[in-house]
């Protein structure tokens, strides 16, 4: 476990958060967050509920503006939704389009492409998430886990450089969750995309991450950035019984338990 100072002026970073803050009226939700999200890695933002994780993702994706500070994606300041970004939302049942069948949902973001390429991407994305032969179902005919796979396929079909996921597995059962975590790591390794996951689950953060960005309680700052060097591919039994996994998990838990916000980054 190596700790890096968050604000180092890195150039290899895919995504750079520079003193991002957000307040809603008088309510300061995010005090000041600086962090680097390295390219082609899985980074995980972990923090207590209400600490501004979703707010941060909305700012990163250009859906919302920071009150102060700046987000840079591939060096360019984010102003509006940048190209090459895809998002998987927590609530699949609210983010998929129930009037479209699975293949149409996946195809929708790439409607502007030529038919042949579109069909190829849809087929590939659906195969990646293991939903071949389920293309003609409606989302509501599927289990929660399968719907979240559709949402992941939809994100993949758009060939993102950066995949954002907001508590993607918070509404599925434990077994499905474990499967989807492995699915994410396999796809990330295969396609080499940059992934930024938000979660409040400490186990999940350590299991998935190359880098963990721990947020303090609100108004949030970065409590610590932890680079996780557990070997890949990871496995739910072997990795989670690994001594280093246990250490990192305890460390993150302690960080999140401590009441007062940690030192300002």
């Amino acid at each position: 476990m190596t700790e890096t100072s968050a604000a180092t002026a890195g150039t290899s970073a895919e995504l750079l958060l520079d003193a991002v803050s957000k307040s809603y009226g008088d309510n300061l939700a995010v005090r000041s967050i600086s962090a680097e999200v390295p390219a082609s890695k899985i980074s995980v933002i972990v923090g207590p509920s209400g600490c501004g994780k979703s707010t941060l993702l909305r700012i990163i994706s250009g859906l919302d503006n920071p009150t102060s500070g700046q987000v840079r994606f591939e060096g360019d300041p984010v102003d509006g939704v940048p190209e090459g970004l895809a998002m998987v939302f927590q609530d699949y049942s609210r983010s998929l389009y129930p009037w479209m069948r699975v293949d149409k949902n996946v195809e929708f973001p790439i409607k502007h492409l030529p038919a042949k390429e579109r069909a190829e991407r849809v087929r590939f994305a659906i195969e990646e998430v293991g939903l071949t032969h389920k293309e003609k179902l409606y989302p509501w005919q599927m289990s929660g886990g399968m719907q979240q796979r559709v949402a992941i396929a939809r994100a993949l079909a758009s060939h993102p450089k950066l995949l954002l996921m907001d508590e993607p597995y918070a509404s599925v059962d434990a077994q499905t969750r474990a499967d989807l975590e492995d699915l994410l790591m396999r796809i990330q390794a295969e396609l080499g995309i940059t992934v930024l996951v938000v979660t409040h689950d400490i186990d999940e953060s350590v299991y998935l991450a190359d880098r963990i960005i721990v947020l303090s309680s609100p108004p949030s700052v970065v409590a610590e950035v932890i680079d996780v060097d557990l070997p890949r591919p990871r496995d739910h039994i072997a990795t989670k019984t690994d001594q280093r996994f246990v250490e990192i998990r305890s460390h993150v838990t302690r960080l999140l338990r401590s009441k007062e916000p940690a030192a300002t980054a």
Partner: protein, 305 residues
Amino acid sequence: MTTQQHSTDQPHVPLSAPESEAVEERDAQPAPSTRRERAGLSWPVKVALRLVVPAAILLVWWLVSTSQRMGLYVVDPLTAFDRFVTDFLSADPSRFFLGDATYDHLFPSVGRALAGLAIAIVVGVVVGIVLGISPVLTGLFQPMVHLGRSLPSPALLGVFFFMFGTGDLPKIFLIAFSIVWPILLNTIDGVSSIGQVRAQAAQVFRIPGRDVLFHIVLPGAAPKIFAGIRTSLSLSLILMIISELQKSENGLGYQLIQSQRNFDYAGFWSVLIVLVILGVAFNLIFKFVERRALAWHRGATQQND
């Protein structure tokens, strides 16, 4: 070692996760357009149940027509039906077996009702979507919408005559103006029912405005829009009659007034029969269209119940 066993799982093969096997697609309804039977009732029973109330009404009608006082104005069902056949039907195949009254009164009436309905749907949906998308515009126009909705529109017929002369136009506009409100309010409601997350998803995937409108906003609001149209549909028949009570040369409303003035009670009751048939027909067509357009919605709501 478990790590090793895992790495054999890693290659390209699409995941055959236990979950995708175990949790099969829920209740695989093959074609969502298939009609769902109401639980427990076989269709002969259902048909019989539906006939009970009309039969009771016919019985009461007949009883009233035989009473001393009321019988003067209420002709018995058979006479009325007989009159309906003579007026509205014919034996002429070249006229599609339809009678003079059908061509002279029924068709003009229905034509105006449908024209009014078409205008109301277009205006209601377009304005409703614009208002529904923009909270600012909703705020601005909400009071006006509620004012318009509560105006006693039949009383405005005079104004419409004044503005549009005496032909079909004032009648059509009266119908449209009176029935646009349920569609408008439901469309506004429907647009906001689509949900913030779906809108954000569209934004993140940089869906062009046109596609957002036609593939997200319209289908998403469609269930509510259809509910509004259903209300407006029955209102349109009422307004159709009201618009023909004054300054009219044809139409079912005109017929109602004329037959009353001429003490032609059989004629009066035969028009009422036509109105019932019309109401049922409108409803059937509506249900047919709705079933096809909203197949996904019935499935989705059944799942969530």
